[in-house]
């Protein structure tokens, strides 16, 4: 784990209002695995850090993908090249790829794309065949970047690919399933593929296992920490009824 002051070095748009930010943070870039995250400190900015999955790690660069939904994300998208943020990471337990499965299907809804490029990359490096199924509200919201041997799209309005959620576009046999996206999508996915690995979001304070703020309820009745035991879980292990979606209090809808 590292706590670095990382300068913004690049930025590009990958969907309507979704941007990728690349920060120079070599030690994190070299260690991070798919599904892990960093906790970002903004100064001036809100009190707490903001957690983000690592989208890509290339050489010295750690890339994040986001849209502005509140104060922290808004400030991140206002950064200019050279501006520094605090990056604490890599944090959490990422995806555990199973090369014996031969094939992996990545299922992402909306900003759930975040951990997928690294997952695709790692899976292919292990010799797995990668199919990426990505869903969004409409064509303009689909991420323009993808990786893998095959990609499928789904849009709620049918403007590109299958009409519906990413779930409905998953080809069978799916092989190993890794997923990230809105909680209702993940809960539905858990019913169909309880063995899938899902990356979930909870509000976090520390990101390092100390505060117990990031409780994820399991069907076994206990809470675990999304930042430490998670954010990746076996889909069937989560008590989805009791896992609230994080709420925003920013200026975005």
């Amino acid at each position: 784990m590292h706590d670095l002051q990382a300068p913004l070095v690049r930025r590009r748009r990958v969907a309507g209002d979704v941007f990728v930010l690349g920060f120079r943070a070599g030690p994190i870039a070299r260690e991070v695995r798919a599904g892990q995250f960093v906790n970002v400190l903004l100064r001036p900015g809100p009190l707490l850090r903001r957690p983000f999955s690592v989208y890509r790690a290339e050489g010295e660069l750690v890339e994040l993908v986001l849209r502005a939904v509140g104060e922290g994300t808004g400030r991140l998208l206002e950064l200019r090249r050279g501006d520094r943020v605090g990056l604490l990471g890599p944090l959490g337990r990422g995806f555990a790829l199973d090369p014996t499965a031969g094939r992996v299907t990545l299922v992402s809804g909306g900003l759930g794309v975040a951990p997928m490029p690294m997952a695709a990359h790692q899976a292919r490096a292990m010799g797995m065949e990668v199919c990426w199924v990505h869903g969004a509200r409409t064509a303009a919201d689909l991420c323009s970047e993808w990786e893998g041997d095959e990609v499928r799209w789904a849009t709620e309005d049918g403007s590109q690919g299958v009409r519906g959620t990413a779930l409905e576009a998953v080809p069978e046999p799916a092989g190993q399933v890794l997923a990230c996206g809105p909680i209702p999508m993940l809960a539905a996915l858990a019913r169909r593929w309880p063995e899938a690995q899902v990356a979930v979001e909870t509000v976090m304070a520390c990101g390092t296992g100390v505060c117990l703020g990031c409780a994820v309820p399991l069907t076994s009745g206990v809470y675990t920490r999304a930042c430490t035991e998670g954010p990746v879980y076996r889909a069937g292990s989560i008590d989805w009824e009791r896992l609230p979606a994080p709420t925003h209090r920013g200026t975005a809808p």
Binding site: M1, D3, L41, P46, L47, L48, R49, G86, L88, T202, V203, M204, A205, C206, G207, T208, G209, V210, C211, L212, G213, C214, A215, V216, P217, G221, V222, Y223, R242, L243, P244, P246, T247, R249
Partner: protein
């Protein structure tokens, strides 16, 4: 009519001189390596916080425990607020037996003291916890939490008034030879009276203060944003309130006071020390910067060291030697 909060409306006495800090200090029966400790619930059981300069740690208070393991409060458990955060963790944690078995042996090997934060729903539960921990190697003291805002029974209930606070303190005192610190809640009409009651009941030190009860609503659903509905407000937002309350307590008692609330840098810690506290605890800041305590201590060292200290300004009360810090060192403010 009980006394007004903070006692009476006479002007507060002058604030105290900053403490002499040459080396380890003895506070309420516990030998601290530095005057800066980790606050309960913000440092786990001491094994979780990464990247923290442990040589800076004066001591640590572990997450609050009950006799039995507890599951804690339903999520969401955290809400950020302006310069603060609400938490409602609900004292999730292992029971006392697991602490004695899994953590105390580790603590015994550490260079800084560990206090256990005690919680109960009845006076007898607190007493029983104290008895179980008495003589356990690795446990250097008890911090009696009569101020937790996030449990339905017990907790803060005991901290509102002098009588129940004294009852808990006396019961714990009777069952242990360990130093007994009592952690006060701000949610009382007269914190000085509660403080005096705890002192008389045998407390070795007082910790002021725990989090303040607050609430945030989700305007989209009209419902509270925390699973427990209400939570405890901590962080820089409460610092001016905590400095005032810690000062009231320090004026009311002779036993040492440990100041808590919104400390993020050496200057913040100095406020509590000047207000009459012998040591401080850092909580929320550790979430933001895992090495917050290391930075606070580094800043205090610069301030309280002979080279850092300026020609002492005239001490208006003439009580003791005065270390008035003047060099405010840029860069030691970690959060806000």
């Amino acid at each position: 009519m009980t006394a007004p909060p903070g006692g009476d409306r006479r002007p507060l006495g002058v604030v105290g001189p900053a403490p002499d800090w040459g080396g380890p200090l003895e506070v309420g029966g516990v030998r601290l390596a530095t005057p800066v400790m980790a606050a309960s619930g913000t440092f786990g059981f001491g094994t979780e916080v990464p990247l923290c300069d442990r040589r800076a740690l004066g001591g640590m208070v572990c997450k609050g425990i009950f006799l039995e393991p507890r599951g804690g409060a339903p999520p969401p458990r955290i809400v950020e607020t302006p310069s603060g955060m609400l938490n409602a963790i609900g004292l999730q944690g292992p029971g006392v037996e697991a602490v004695i078995r899994d953590y105390a042996p580790l603590w015994a090997t550490w260079p800084f003291p560990v206090l256990v934060n005690l919680n109960g729903e009845t006076v007898e539960e607190y007493a029983e916890l104290a008895a179980r921990l008495d003589g356990v190697p690795g446990v250097s003291g008890l911090e009696v939490n009569i101020s937790c805002p996030n449990v339905h029974r017990g907790g803060m209930l005991f901290g509102h008034d002098p009588e129940p606070a004294a009852a808990v303190t006396a019961a714990v005192r009777a069952r242990t030879r360990l130093p007994v610190w009592v952690k006060l809640t701000p949610a009382t009409g007269d914190i000085a009276a509660v403080a005096r009651a705890c002192e008389e009941a045998g407390a070795d030190a007082l910790c002021a203060v725990n989090a303040f009860v607050g609430m945030a609503l989700d305007v989209r659903t009209g419902q509270p944003r925390l699973g427990f509905r209400t939570g405890g407000l901590s962080g820089p937002a409460i610092r001016p309130l905590a400095v005032y309350l810690a000062h009231r307590v320090a004026q009311a008692v002779r036993i040492p006071v440990i100041g808590i609330g919104g400390i993020t840098c050496a200057e913040d810690a100095m406020e509590f020390l000047l207000a009459g506290c012998r040591a401080v605890q850092v909580g929320t800041a550790t979430f933001v910067d895992p090495n917050a305590i290391g930075k606070v201590v580094a800043g205090l060292r610069r301030r309280l060291s002979p080279e850092g200290a300026p020609p002492a300004p005239e001490a208006p009360t003439g009580v003791g030697r005065r270390h008035s810090p003047v060099r405010t060192v840029a860069g030691d403010r970690v959060v806000e």
